[in-house]
Subunit: 184 residues, 2 copies
């Protein structure tokens, strides 16, 4: 005799994301998720293989959201301007979902969400193709993405302790990197 479903995978993943941002990775326990979706912890294993699996799904959803955000930023104009806008959108997203973003390239989530990551890369690749040419588009995209991700990681970790305006440093990086890539 079937029991009515009291939750869903989507609800569980969303609860995981909320708890992650409010309580940190350590606070993201199966118990906490179960409480939030109104179910007992063992029931979660009907939809999720393990806590690590849930973590992977949380990161995947975050990357999908980030991809949507990037794909929604206005592009198609000057590629340097587009690249700057994409970088700013990335940073804004990271500030809105700091914990989720910090997990994107964490050891734990490695090997996950790589399809979603590819989708995220698309608008960046479009801009770097215009900027650096077909042949160097991928390397250029990796340069920009690595810089933006590294900068945001360091910022979120509070690593910029030597003074100076962090905002300015980000704009400085955007301008110089975009400038460097447009050189033939």
């Amino acid at each position: 005799m079937p029991t009515p479903e009291r939750t869903s995978l989507d609800e569980i993943v969303q609860a995981g994301r909320d708890i992650l941002e409010s309580a940190g990775v350590a606070g993201l326990t199966m118990q906490a998720v179960a409480d939030r979706v109104g179910v007992r912890a063992p029931s979660l294993y009907k939809r999720v293989r393990s806590r690590d699996d849930l973590l992977r799904l949380v990161v995947e959803a975050t990357v999908r959201d980030l991809g949507a955000q990037l794909n929604a930023t206005a592009t198609g104009g000057d590629p340097r301007r587009d690249l700057a806008e994409l970088a700013r959108a990335f940073r804004a997203f990271a500030h809105a979902h700091p914990l989720g973003c910090q997990l994107i390239f964490a050891p734990k989530a490695a090997g996950a969400s790589l399809d979603a990551l590819a989708a995220t890369a698309a608008p960046v690749l479009r801009a770097t193709t215009l900027l650096a040419g077909e042949q160097h588009a991928l390397q250029a995209a990796r340069t920009v993405t690595a810089w933006a991700y590294g900068f945001i990681s360091m910022e979120l970790a509070g690593a910029f302790q030597l003074g100076g305006d962090v905002e300015d440093a980000y704009e400085f990086g955007i301008a110089h990197i975009a400038g460097a890539l447009s050189a033939p």
Copy 2:
């Protein structure tokens, strides 16, 4: 009546680093550390406040090693060349201590090891001062460091899935960023 000391803080931290690299963050348990240094788990709390504290010490030691490595790379010549050498040394270190490096800017270790980080920054700042001038040295150093850290994080996480040579992409990044920063 005193009992002879059967271990030391240094030994514990070193054991932590070894276990981290061989068994991952999840494998770095107090039990595993205690086994390795030949003591029972509760004894560790004589030298270390908590597991998080141990993790912080592990990261701090890693950052100190990285700083020593960077300060030991030959510099003083062409600043673009110096910056390239520093970036390569950083990557080599990261490949030798991948897990430790990935924790440097992880949420967990945040707020730790910042003094050690400053020491790490010194040789980079020296090069960027020559390259970009006193006024933009800090922003330039942040740009280079963010790029290198981001690149290495992504590489270690296996995020470069779109093909292409990763080694080449790193050299591409070095060349273009150093080039961009030398512009007035």
